[in-house]
């Protein structure tokens, strides 16, 4: 009986020995890896495969920051603070809007919003917050471009369209005639189309004709196409370099506005033209390449890309795109971001649509506008039917 008990201990002992025997070198490996990677054993490089390929968020100890207190460290801190002035200016603008108060009218219902890509992220975020306040509201946001948004509105496939430009009189008349309803356009944010160059490019500004000469295949406003920087500024350190053009892939609202401003329907040149997958890539190219020039929205500005001041014509002043010049309309390519909806009359605008617009034009909504890189609209443009509820 005693021998049976002893024998029954053999198997667990061997299992224990095996487990421990295998684990000892494993832990050595882990420690070794930790030593090699100068980090805790759970750093992503060693943990990834062990965890079945799930990336770990932990970061090796090695720092990419300069030593604290050094001149470089202070300079980087200043770089991070560079846009604090802008933030304060925008905060003052946001404070001018009314605070959002819960509406007495029913805010549950459904709403489909289709339209501008530029307004997409803002709308998605704003709708998310709005649903937090009104959980019963069913709102779908879809980014398909301003034109498709208007088409969907006209055909009754959505209740609201987002459009990153002002509607023409002809467009309003066409929609009203087709639907028999009134078109209500509510501006919710401002933006601008900018021409970016590298921060080291000393060019002072570009006129409408020069932009035409650079970007248009027909260059109807200049005798010759502009293909080298010396044609714009002979003293430029990059004067002999070719002007490298960067635009985004599709004809977005931004590019359409640029085209309307200086090209009047002419096509883009194909000389040194690079097509980028998105507007942020256009700005990145301007940050990276000294001789690059690109067209993108104001929201995407970066320290290494300079938005060039523009002028309407020869002899007219160059206007730099700033919050002030965009708001007062001095900058030539201002973009007004609108929400368009249809209703037989002001009184018949659905409660949920009215309330969402009130939310967007409140301090909360305009704070989101700022966080999405756009500029708050003028509080004076808030329609009368949104001021009372």
């Amino acid at each position: 009986m005693k021998s049976m008990k002893l024998r029954s201990l053999i198997f667990p002992t061997l299992v224990f020995a095996l487990i421990f025997g295998v684990n000892a070198p494993c832990s050595a490996d882990t420690l070794d890896a930790a030593f090699l990677t100068n980090s805790s054993p759970s750093n992503p490089t060693s943990s990834n495969l062990a965890a079945g390929g799930t990336p770990s968020p932990s970061v090796p100890v090695t720092s990419i920051e300069p030593t604290p207190g050094s001149k470089l460290s202070e300079a980087l801190k200043q770089l991070a603070k560079a846009n604090e002035g802008t933030v304060e200016e925008l905060a003052r603008l946001v404070a001018m809007f009314p605070t959002y108060s819960l509406s007495e009218s029913a805010c549950n219902g459904s709403l489909r919003i289709i339209g501008s890509d530029s307004l997409g992220p803002l709308l998605v975020r704003a709708v998310g917050s709005y649903k937090g306040i009104h959980p019963d509201a069913v709102i779908e946001v879809s980014q398909r471009g301003s034109m498709k948004g208007l088409d969907a509105l006209q055909s009754g496939n959505c209740e609201m369209a987002t459009v990153s430009r002002d509607l023409s009189v002809a467009e309003i008349a066409r929609i009203e005639e087709a639907t028999g309803k009134r078109v209500f356009t509510v501006p919710i944010a401002l933006g601008a189309v900018c021409v970016y160059v590298n921060a080291d490019n000393p060019i002072k500004g570009l006129s409408k004709a020069q932009c035409n000469g650079i970007f248009s295949i027909v260059h109807s406003m200049t005798a010759d196409p502009i293909i080298r920087w010396k044609q714009l500024d002979p003293a430029s350190p990059i004067s002999s370099a070719a002007v490298l053009l960067y635009i985004e892939k599709k004809l977005s609202g931004t590019l359409r506005l640029f085209n309307d401003w200086c090209m009047q329907g002419e096509g883009f040149t194909t000389i040194n033209l690079f097509i980028e997958p998105g507007p942020s890539s256009v700005v990145n190219a301007c940050c990276a390449y000294p001789s690059a020039i690109g067209v993108a929205g104001f929201a995407l500005r970066q320290p290494r890309a300079r938005a060039v001041p523009l002028s309407e014509g020869f002899g007219k002043p160059f206007v730099e795109p700033t919050i002030a010049t965009i708001r007062n309309g001095a900058y030539p390519m201002r973009q007004r971001m609108n929400i368009v909806l249809l209703a037989p009359s002001e009184e018949k605008i659905p409660g949920i649509a009215r309330d969402l617009l009130r939310f967007l034009l409140s301090q909360d909504g305009q704070e989101m506008v700022v966080k999405n890189g756009l500029i708050p609209t003028d509080p004076a443009t808030i329609p009368a039917f949104l001021r009372t509820h």
Binding site: T13, N48, Q143, N284, G373
Partner: protein
């Protein structure tokens, strides 16, 4: 005469018959041609369709591209960092560049060996785009490395162009645009200051991002859809491949880790004091030799410590194993003799 007439009639009849044959053959020939042509067209269409089918990239092809991209990224970072660090006596510049290449390359391989191929691609896209925001767009690279920054800036930009090119094979333009917007919005929201090598798509796009990846895996992008069974077999096969892939690459940048250790030690206040006290130009060779000695000592110490550590662990493990097997043997023998 009659015979001549008969011959002429025969000749005419033959001509007529020949013409008839030609007249009959032409439509047949044309018909044949037409049917041949239509078959040719049909074949061509089928070929075109099959080419279109083939154009949809498989997950395996995407996985290979993702791995190749990780290697390409390594090469770009190696080339940029070598050019920035070559003959560079600025300790800060070298230290930060070494840290950058180590973190970004290890992050890239970390992604390339992760489980899901579509997530791999989109994470590579996010990391490289955010790296560009952090180093290139913000002007941080220029501030740290001055003129030398151009090498890093150019290579990071190339890395960005490449990964977006690869992504265009798997995602539609609309999907790419959505990803681009998510990244730029996140960057704006984060205040434009966060180091990005360890940010993943899931962090910036959340549920919408997961939904997008599911769509692409389900065939809504340009990737061939996968059924569940195929996916499981593939993921089992790929796990092994990924571990080999990873194991082969680690030595490529393991020495960067050692360098990071040197630089971190050299950046310590005590080391810096030693280095900063020597302000006379004539003492520059001495500075160099001290710096080299410091580095050599550090490496030697590091090696010794590592060796000792491994030796100790193996020694302990062997002793323990021996003791356990001896114990097991004694117990077995005891049991056997007790039975006897």
């Amino acid at each position: 005469m009659h015979s001549l007439k008969a011959l002429s009639i025969l000749n005419q009849s033959l001509r007529l018959a020949g013409a008839l044959v030609v007249v009959l053959l032409i439509p047949m020939f044309l018909g044949g041609c037409a049917s041949g042509f239509s078959n040719f067209l049909k074949g061509k269409q089928e070929h075109k369709a099959s080419m279109l089918r083939d154009k949809r990239m498989t997950e395996k092809q995407l996985d290979d591209l993702s791995n190749a991209y990780a290697d390409r990224f390594y090469t770009l970072m190696l080339s940029a960092s070598e050019r920035v660090m070559r003959d560079n006596m600025d300790l800060q510049q070298c230290r930060i560049m070494n840290g950058l290449r180590l973190l970004s390359v290890s992050s890239m391989y970390d992604i390339a060996t992760s489980r899901d191929t579509v997530t791999q691609l989109v994470n590579q896209l996010v990391v490289v785009t955010l790296d560009n925001y952090f180093w290139v767009d913000s002007g941080r690279a220029q501030l740290i490395w001055g003129d030398r920054a151009k090498y890093l800036v150019e290579n990071l930009r190339k890395a960005r162009e490449d990964i977006w090119g690869i992504a265009a094979k798997a995602f539609t333009d609309e999907q790419l645009e959505e990803i681009d917007l998510s990244i730029s919005t996140w960057w704006l929201k984060a205040g434009g200051t966060e180091f990005a090598s360890y940010v993943r798509f899931d962090d910036i796009a959340g549920n919408r991002g997961r939904a997008l990846i599911d769509q692409v895996r389900g065939g809504a992008g340009l990737l061939a859809p996968l059924d569940r069974a195929t996916e499981q077999i593939q993921s089992a096969n790929q796990a092994l491949e990924r571990s080999f892939f990873w194991a082969k690459r680690v030595p490529l940048f393991a020495n960067w880790q050692i360098e990071a250790l040197w630089y971190d030690i050299l950046a310590m206040p005590d080391s810096r004091r030693v280095l900063e006290n020597i302000d006379n130009l004539s003492q520059a060779p001495a500075l160099m030799s001290k710096r080299m000695n410091l580095v050599t000592d550090t490496v030697a110490q590091a090696r010794d410590s590592a060796k000792d550590l491994v030796d100790q662990i193996f020694r302990k493990a062997l002793i323990l194993m021996g003791a356990l097997f001896l114990g097991a043997f004694i117990v077995a023998r005891w049991g056997f003799s007790a039975k006897k």
